[in-house]
């Protein structure tokens, strides 16, 4: 039974990761805790929901050959994105092309990866020899809409609010973000009402992954898209000039400025990437449960927990933190259940981890000084070894 909770934890964790990476990067680059980040998730989910409703993308039933074709198309799109991304990679060590051209390959890569993510679970259906395969064509469209919409919203927030508060320390921006959170929640409530909504997705076919666990179609999406986007983020952060500049700015904004890094450009793209990945997280959250105005605010504390666990400003920390918090939440349900408690207590565990982390090591697992200094450890071991050898050596 515990495996099942772990798998659920990974699925949930991928949502937290998608939220936490953006929150952490914005926290690092802009130096404030964005309490509206959860509502950016919600915004993404509702944008996708709108497209879902308007285009009624009930799955199109097609023959397996068509399904295979779509999968290939998805892979091709991902490949194209990947190729453009690689260009970025090589560019990273070279010239900075004008910022305008930079977004396009990223977008391609994102679309490609989404297509791939949506296609992969379909392969399973083909493998099972199901003659009529339902294709979630609209999921792609919804996803792209949500990413772009949330990304633009992020830039708008930066431009209209947070840019003006940047020299006044972390508190005014934080307070303004709380205000923004309430604006977003209630604009969404005013437009859509507070009823729970559901994406129109057929339940699809489960994937038996062994150990008695059958992943539902939605869980497959969550895990595949989650992992693929994490890989994408890794590529961007590790190999592109933008990603490195983002990490650099997150490390030390003033130094980035005196180094000649175009800090405004970095900040804008951090918002786009942060809000865009939050939007995907929102869609996955909506697919997993339901779409409602407080869905994002409801998981904000989990996202904060992930960010703080990993270390503020550290994208990799957010990744680690997201999965740890996701798994903790689900596994604690299993433990609570066994101990005879109500599983509704489970959020207390991630929150407690967060508070404990703030008290013991506020810089997070991957922030600040490394937890284990391998170099120093090696050095002291070899010193120790030398001393032992020295003891053994015949005295002069």
């Amino acid at each position: 039974m515990i495996h099942e909770f772990i798998v659920n934890g990974i699925a949930l964790g991928s949502i937290f990761v998608l939220g936490a990476v953006g929150l952490s990067l914005i926290y690092g680059v802009r130096n404030f805790a964005n309490f509206a980040h959860g509502d950016i998730l919600t915004l993404g989910a509702y944008l996708a929901f709108t497209v879902n409703v308007i285009f009624a993308w009930n799955w199109v039933s097609v023959a397996p050959s068509m399904a295979v074709a779509t999968v290939l198309l998805g892979i091709a799109a991902a490949g194209l994105g990947g190729a453009l991304g690689l260009r970025l990679f090589f560019r990273a060590r070279g010239a900075p092309p004008s910022p305008r051209r930079r977004g396009l390959p990223l977008l391609f890569l994102l679309v490609g990866i989404l297509a791939l993510g949506i296609s992969l679970p379909i392969l399973n259906l083909v493998r099972l020899g199901i003659s009529e395969v339902a294709l979630p064509t609209g999921l792609l469209l919804s996803g792209v809409t949500a990413i772009i919409g949330a990304g633009l919203a992020g830039v708008l927030f930066e431009h209209s609010i947070f840019r003006h508060l940047q020299y006044r320390g972390p508190v005014p921006s934080l307070i303004a973000s709380i205000g923004l959170a309430f604006i977003l929640q209630n604009v969404i409530s005013a437009i859509y009402g507070t009823d729970q909504r559901f994406f129109s997705v057929s339940s699809g076919v489960g994937l038996d992954v062994g150990a008695g666990i059958v992943l539902t179609m939605v869980k497959q999406y969550m895990i595949v898209i989650g992992i693929l986007l994490v890989v994408l983020l890794h590529v961007v952060l590790r190999y592109t000039k933008l990603g490195k500049a983002m990490r650099a700015t997150s490390d030390n904004l003033d130094l980035a400025r005196v180094t000649g890094i175009n800090v405004r450009w970095v900040i804008i793209w951090t918002w786009v990437i942060g809000a865009g990945s939050a939007a995907i997280g929102g869609i996955l959250l909506g697919l997993n449960a339901q779409v409602k105005p407080l869905m994002g605010f409801g998981i904000l504390l989990f996202i904060f927990a992930a960010v703080i666990l990993g270390g503020i400003g550290s994208a990799y920390g957010a990744l680690l933190g997201g999965f740890v918090i996701g798994i903790t939440n689900e596994v604690s349900k299993a433990l609570l259940f066994r101990a005879g408690f109500d599983t509704a207590w489970s959020p207390a565990f991630p929150f407690a981890i967060m508070v404990a982390m703030l008290l013991i090591r506020p810089e997070g697992l991957l922030g600040g000084e490394p937890l284990v200094r391998w170099g120093a450890l090696r050095a002291s071991l070899s010193r120790f070894a030398r001393r032992i050898r020295g003891l053994r050596a015949p005295s002069r």
Partner: protein
């Protein structure tokens, strides 16, 4: 000959507190200029003002014959002026190579050849190329900070107390490295607490105290001046 960099009658400070009063500094091409003086003399304030991090209350800054007063630091970087802060001068979570790449952010074209050149100047960094810079020693960090700035092959480097917080044997190595950089043709303005050593390697020096220029002259002259020696070099 027109000076490369000239700060003219600078008044500067924080908020409405004036710290630097009417100080002028001239740097010629290829020169090593040092600014010395006791704690709180306004040395760092002056250098930050020259680099556009603080707006001067009065005075002008000229670079290559152009008035650059109030120009943003990132523009100055593109023009060939660069600055090494006293502390926190490397990106801790970036590797050595990534730090160098960021140093070359505004550079056009492939960075690899330049990275190789810079690593050649700091051989000790070669084997640590993929180590995150927060895991480096203080001396190594200072080398990364210098190397990062050299990525653009600047005309002038403003270096704020490179020896701060370093062990004495490392101070020697870092200052030696700065002299090498200068000998390769880069003009350098260095703010130092380590006045004797700084003056001995500098072409010219300025002695700042209470935000005013007390003495200026060649490094040798200042070293030989008994008043400077008594007041600022510890006898």
């Amino acid at each position: 000959m027109q000076p490369l960099l000239k700060a003219e009658a600078i008044h500067s400070g924080y908020g409405d507190v004036e710290i630097v009063h009417n100080v002028s500094v001239v740097v010629n091409k290829g020169e090593l200029v040092t600014i010395i003086g006791p704690n709180g003399a306004g040395k760092s304030t002056l250098i930050k003002t020259i680099f556009g991090l603080l707006a001067p209350m009065a005075g002008r800054i000229w670079y290559q014959g152009r008035d650059v007063t109030g120009t943003e630091p990132d523009k100055l970087v593109r023009m060939g002026l660069s600055y090494v802060p006293q502390v926190d001068n490397v990106f801790p979570r970036l590797t050595v190579i990534e730090n160098l790449e960021m140093g070359g952010f505004v550079r056009e074209g492939d960075l690899t050849p330049r990275i190789d050149v810079v690593l050649e100047m700091f051989p000790s960094l070669k084997e640590k190329a993929s180590v995150r810079s927060r895991n480096l020693s203080g001396g190594e960090k200072q080398m990364v900070a210098l190397g990062k700035t050299l990525m653009l092959d600047p005309e002038v480097m403003l270096i704020d107390e490179p020896s701060a917080g370093l062990a004495p044997n490392l101070v020697e190595a870092v200052l030696e490295k700065i002299r090498e950089i200068n000998e390769a043709g880069t003009a350098i303005v260095i703010v130092e607490q380590n006045a004797r050593k700084a003056l001995s390697m500098a072409h010219r020096g300025y002695v700042l105290d209470m935000g005013e220029t007390k003495y200026e002259g060649t490094g040798e002259d200042l070293l030989a001046d008994p008043r400077v020696g008594r007041m600022y070099l510890g006898g």
